[in-house]
Symmetry: C3
Subunit: 139 residues, 3 copies
């Protein structure tokens, strides 16, 4: 992993074998990012994404392996109880170019991942919402 | 729905039961947004997306229901005849994480939707294009 | 094709029959863009995307035709040996709204394409990486 910061933008390269969610957390904490918009592309051969089951209040997750190109990886960095909080969704195409995706739990980089972190001046908090079971953004 | 503006960036939370296209319009008009780039993630259980049929000059649209994670929602805010105009595309993964998507007509939020509206200083107009039947951006 | 620049943001319209990768290159070179984040939506009826085969160190690419809505087109502009370098991934939905995608080789616009180029102040270089066979970002 390596990165460089240009004013409000961090350009981050995540390397083969590194996990995306952990790496973003490490960089965001080191750079004191409180609020940001995330966008990335790259390749992964081992990732877990899920769909939220509102009745059960939990994510049903699936793990995919084999070569995939990350075609979208979007999300937000906010805070919960003053600590780093990320919310990312990923979609990726397999060897047939068929695309799967959902809420991102983890993704291991297979070739490279190029992430742009656009830092927004300010902060947004999260609070648990009893109705949905989700930590919702609070302003 | 609730939001907060940080300089050129509006961070918007759209809540369960609210429709995304209408909500973006309401916020953009209230905040006098003339030109912006849109990105969002979230969940929807009722949305209509379409593919443009150039020969017929209309969108063929399909409605999908059941739990879906929005894996990409991108687009632009511009103007047409001095009024708000949005152009959004959405893709979303279902319970099997299979992804469907297209031109967004409407999407009802099932859990939450987190949208980042990046306001661009300026304005871009639209004019109908007879060849394609689409309102194209004019500079 | 036509575009306008608003401070650090270029809003670009790519027209029916024009190829996206070539058009971005032409605009970025004319505007002296060294580092940027790319996002676009639109429609294509002829595009080639691939998945990287790490063992063979090459992309396995497929070409798709027929009406498709571009639901995500993300990437970076950087430099290699002082020259323009782009890395783009695309996903698109067909008539059934099924989404395919991968590393973008080429895409011909069928209706319109609306691209936002966010110029980042600075520059990032690329160097070939023997392990992956990819030109990786260097800071």
């Amino acid at each position: 992993m390596d990165y460089r910061r240009f004013n409000d933008t961090i350009v981050l390269r995540i390397d083969r074998g590194e996990e995306i969610v952990e790496t973003l957390k490490a960089v965001a904490e080191r750079e004191h990012v409180r609020l940001a918009e995330i966008s990335a592309l790259g390749a992964t051969d081992d990732f877990t994404v899920g769909v939220y089951d509102l009745a059960a209040k939990r994510y049903d997750s699936k793990t995919f392996t084999g070569p995939h190109e990350i075609v979208s990886l979007t999300g937000t960095v906010t805070e919960k109880d003053g600590a780093f909080y990320q919310h990312l969704h990923l979609s990726a195409g397999n060897r047939d170019c068929a695309v799967v995706g959902g809420h991102l739990n983890r993704a291991v980089v297979s070739v490279t991942c190029e992430m742009v972190i656009r830092v927004i001046p300010g902060a947004v908090d999260r609070r648990p919402d009893p109705e949905t079971g989700i930590n919702l953004m609070r302003f």
